[in-house]
């Protein structure tokens, strides 16, 4: 495929690996923030191409993994309401809540449908005027504009049976929280597709306030190795800054039209991140002008007391403090077929990736 296969050339990848071996002297720790990077790094065996002094650790950038357990509980509660259809990205369906999961409720008869896009949810709403359609909106800056555009489209079409249960989150606040907590990270591979929307200014504080490197990276093996090389150069020369490796789609200013849609529909709010706790202004909620589409307000769901998973160390995995292999449940009690924690559910969760591709 154009713009993919040329970045998987084995010869060039080996040459980049040699180059990194040649210039990298310091012991450095690089966090890949995005779950898609975690998957690519393991899938393509990137760690084997790096010298031992470069450590790669996974961060909090898997939306399914950081979605708080009460969000799943609310979605489960809504799925039990008569004449309601839940529409969701496939990743979310197996995530265990306190007492159930969407997969279990589907098996019990709730109408829960997997969609690829919010646009499919709108089609389902149009085809089922006597039912309420609830779209489960999770994801970071990459996905939020699509949800905003979906809500604006629903308003334009005057759909009064379309709702959104919103748990969209913003990437920089957890990156700051991780640094503030004192977790040893020298540089970040910043999320490429988040940056397609947001641009790069939002990372500036990381280099200026905290003196850590940031390279906005693409997702093919050449992209990742080139980004590591750029970070190594920054750190070897003590010149931490914000750079773009993934320049074929990331512009410094991002995508202003997409951001305008987001700003029209959403405003920032505090949020509970699985493993990281409450982070101020780290999420988005639907503005009151669009309250008619806000499932949280329309259903006013009250959920029972939360019950966590005993022994699960997802929280520490999401902060890069421990690898999945340190968890007693990993691969024994907790597997992709029968996950205990969210990090084992998503195909981009660190536990799931470690399980599939090896440690």
């Amino acid at each position: 495929m154009k713009f993919i296969s040329e970045y998987r050339d084995g010869k060039q990848i080996r040459e980049f690996s040699e180059l990194i071996h040649k210039v990298s002297k310091k012991n450095i720790c690089i966090m890949e923030v995005c779950g898609s990077h975690t998957m690519a790094i393991h899938r393509f065996g990137i760690k084997n191409l790096l010298p031992a002094n470069i450590k790669l650790i996974s961060g909090p950038g898997c939306p399914v993994c950081v979605t708080a357990i009460d969000y799943i509980d609310k979605a489960v509660a809504i799925s039990k309401i008569q004449d309601t259809i839940i529409t969701t990205f496939g990743d979310l369906i197996k995530v265990p809540g306190s007492y159930s999961s969407l997969e279990k409720e589907k098996a019990r008869g709730s109408d829960i449908r997997m969609v690829y896009s919010i646009l499919e949810s709108l089609d389902i709403a149009k085809a089922n005027p006597d039912k309420k359609i609830v779209f489960l909106a999770i994801g970071f800056e990459t996905t939020t504009p699509a949800t905003a555009a979906g809500i604006l489209k629903a308003e334009e079409l005057k759909l009064n049976n379309f709702l959104v249960l919103c748990s969209h989150k913003i990437m920089p606040p957890p990156m700051e929280a991780i640094i503030e907590e004192g977790i040893k990270v020298d540089g970040f591979l910043a999320p490429g597709h988040v940056s397609v929307i947001s641009g790069i200014e939002m990372y500036r504080f990381i280099s200026e306030k905290f003196h850590k490197g940031v390279v906005v990276a693409g997702f093919e093996p050449m992209d990742i190795l080139q980004s590591v090389y750029m970070l190594v150069q920054q750190l070897e020369n003590n010149t931490p800054k914000v750079e773009i490796q993934y320049s074929r789609v990331v512009k410094p200013e991002g995508n202003p039209k997409a951001r305008l849609a987001v700003d029209t529909v959403f405003e920032t709010t505090d949020a509970n991140w699985r493993g990281l706790g409450i982070i101020p202004k780290s999420a988005l909620k639907i503005k009151s002008a669009f309250a008619q589409f806000d499932a949280e307000k329309v259903f006013n769901i009250k959920i029972e007391e939360l019950k966590g998973s005993k022994g699960c160390i997802c929280g520490q995995v999401l902060k890069g403090l421990k690898p999945p292999s340190d968890c007693k449940l990993f691969g024994k009690v907790c597997t992709p077929e029968n996950p205990t924690g969210a990090c084992m559910v998503s195909s981009e969760g660190a536990c799931n990736v470690f399980y599939r591709f090896g440690i």
Partner: protein, 71 residues
Amino acid sequence: MCLGVPARIEAITGSEAKVVMGGIELRASLDLLDDAKVGDYVLVHAGFAIQKVDEEEANKTLELLKELGMG
């Protein structure tokens, strides 16, 4: 989840494009992108084109090794 795939625009009707990625035909909304036209490669995420792929920049990435005296 933030997966984005480059796809070529084959046709545009209103604010919707027919795109092809790896031989698979899909529809993608152009609501979040200005100035997209037939023949452009766009990055598609969750049913929306979110950015045009800049061919010149794409080639620069591939040229970097040569500039560094490798490749």
